[in-house]
């Protein structure tokens, strides 16, 4: 039974790797219910006296609520803009017979190669000239801009499946291009919208680089930035609260992921392979 032995070895390897991938994440949650004393003496042991005290501390101090609200605001507004702008631009690039649209499409896809770091200095200067550092808008602009290439591409490739005859028929019946879009084409794109929204909600929620550059005041901090209040610093760190804060802040993306996992993976793998 050589085949069976190999199968077992494979299964063991897969499970080992699974532990490597997932144990650290589980540990985050375990650590968050440990008293700080235990965390500093035996951080990786199972909790002897599980407690919710860390969560109480984090929540009662109230900052995390504000950070979550800021993140939610940035993520929500960005998502609406991403979907609205890429659904319309994709429609223009797919269903219109206009010269030069191929060039515009390649212009959009070029954006996938552009590293986000290039925007940090210019946008920082631009924002400080305009006095809009430390606002949600300062995060929304680059988030949406860098999401557009991929999402326009996803909409275009979806619209290619919408038969032209359908649109022609609507136009012949006297439907304007706008009504055709709102009543016929866009409602069909439900899956594309969910894919883009679920993927970017996670990516934007998790963003660190833009928030770290454009936000310095407490009142505008997003969750990822807020966590850095605890991280980074050495010395007298309240580890218990840190882990509780982390656990709270990674919960929304995890929930979205487990609820919409098919769409999230579809979007992200597409993002990877279309690059």
């Amino acid at each position: 039974m050589k085949g069976k032995a190999i199968k077992i070895i494979f299964a063991v390897l897969i499970i080992l790797f699974l532990i490597i991938q997932i144990y650290p994440v589980i540990w985050l949650f375990i650590a968050s219910i440990k008293p700080t004393v235990e965390l500093s003496s035996a951080p990786f042991a199972f909790p002897e006296n599980p407690t919710l005290e860390n969560f109480v501390n984090v929540l009662s101090d109230g900052k995390i609520g504000l950070y979550m609200w800021n993140s939610l605001k940035v993520t929500g507004i960005s998502l609406i803009l991403i979907v609205a702008l890429s659904a319309t631009a994709g429609y223009a690039l797919s269903k219109f017979r206009v010269r030069g649209k191929k060039i515009i499409f390649s212009f959009f896809t070029f954006g996938i190669m552009v590293p986000v770091q290039i925007t940090l200095i210019p946008l920082f200067i631009f924002y400080s000239d305009m006095g809009i550092l430390n606002t949600s808008f300062s995060l929304i602009l680059p988030q949406v801009g860098f999401a557009l290439p991929l999402s326009v591409m996803m909409f275009v490739s979806f619209y290619e499946f919408v038969p032209n005859e359908l649109i022609e028929a609507a136009i012949v019946d006297g439907c304007s291009p706008f009504r055709t879009f709102i009543q016929i084409v866009f409602p069909l794109a439900r899956n594309t919208v969910i894919t883009i929204a679920s993927m970017y909600s996670i990516l934007i929620w998790n963003d660190f680089i833009f928030a770290n550059t454009f936000i310095s005041e407490g009142s505008a901090k997003t969750v990822a930035m807020g966590l850095k209040d605890y991280v980074g610093a050495f010395g007298n760190v309240d580890w218990g609260s840190t882990f509780a804060a982390i656990a709270i802040s990674i919960l929304p993306p995890l929930l979205i992921y487990f609820a919409l996992n098919k769409w999230v993976t579809a979007g992200m793998t597409m993002g990877a392979t279309k690059g």
Partner: protein, 310 residues
């Protein structure tokens, strides 16, 4: 091919997205290039200095350190993500049950913010209290290897590369798995009947068939590693000294800690050129003669069609 001919409607649909895109992505590129020829400390007038920033860059020792570090970082990250990802994708094709569950769980690290991940690895690497890695080494009787991984010059770079590699391995595995299971079984069933071994089928049939995906993920992975920032920045911010300095952490420090916006922009321009060059090179290296001929033929056909259409 589209069907609606109204130019006005075309612009109405296209422009909002296009303008936003130009403002957020292209205006900064233009500004970075412009700034890279200036000297500016954040206040006062910008001073035009020509290529001075680029000359400084190519004489800057730290620039070379960062460049080499970035290459090492790239090798570690890419080999972890692609080799490990591919290996487990192959193993997973032999599994019959729970595949979806395993895939879902492998993916979890990509969902978590880098700030949490760095906190996690900081605990794993720490010596005070003994972190997981050091505990493991002690348990294995390798007390001599116990060290504070992030503070040691010789280990810091590897220590900041591994979390990045770890984080996305699951994603690449999912991509490879999807590619492998989408292959038409009849192709390798035939080879099996002809007496090919599993390994032969794997390397001679399956791998070449998913070459395109491997190439695409390699591109993605490389450009991702060239712009690596979050984890090194948060874990060591390039330290100790410049032992784990990467191009983008160096750029960030130059601009936002030393207020050398001009020099920082020159580094940023270098990063973008480097990324585009890398993509171009990979495409070039991996396009075989055959594919080039096919592409040439397609182009000719297209031209002909256009001529006929008009």
């Amino acid at each position: 091919m589209g069907v609606i001919k109204s130019k006005k409607a075309f612009l109405a649909f296209l422009l909002p997205g296009l303008l936003f895109y130009i403002l957020a992505v292209f205006y900064p590129i233009e500004e970075s290039i412009r700034l890279s020829f200036m000297k500016w400390g954040g206040i006062g007038d910008k001073e035009f200095v020509g290529f001075q920033n680029y000359i400084t860059m190519f004489h800057d020792k730290v620039f070379y350190t960062a460049f080499i570090n970035n290459l090492i970082y790239l090798v570690i990250v890419v080999s972890m993500q692609l080799a490990v990802g591919l290996f487990f994708a192959i193993l997973l094709t032999y599994m019959t049950r729970h595949v979806t569950l395993v895939k879902t769980l492998y993916y979890v690290p990509c969902i978590i913010t880098t700030v949490a991940i760095t906190q996690l690895f900081r605990s794993i690497y720490s010596t005070e209290p003994m972190g997981l890695l050091n505990q493991f080494l002690q348990a294995a009787g390798l007390d001599g290897m116990v060290t504070s991984w992030l503070a040691e010059v010789s280990t810091a770079l590897a220590a900041v590369s591994i979390p990045e590699g770890w984080r996305f391995t699951g994603m690449y595995m999912v991509i490879f798995y999807a590619a492998l299971v989408s292959l038409d079984p009849s192709v390798y069933e035939a080879a099996k009947v002809d007496g090919a071994s599993e390994l032969q089928i794997l390397f001679k049939i399956k791998m070449p068939l998913i070459k395109e995906i491997i190439l695409l993920t390699l591109t993605m992975c490389l450009t991702g590693a060239l712009r690596g920032f979050d984890i090194p920045f948060l874990l060591t911010s390039g330290g100790p000294g410049n032992a784990s300095e990467l191009m983008s952490t160096y750029m960030y420090k130059k601009a936002f800690s030393s207020n050398q916006y001009g020099y920082g922009s020159a580094l940023a321009v270098f990063i973008i050129v480097e990324s585009i060059l890398a993509v171009y090179l990979i495409r070039k290296v991996f396009t075989t003669k055959e594919e080039r001929e096919i592409r040439e033929m397609e182009r000719m056909q297209r031209r002909q069609r256009r001529r006929e259409g008009r």
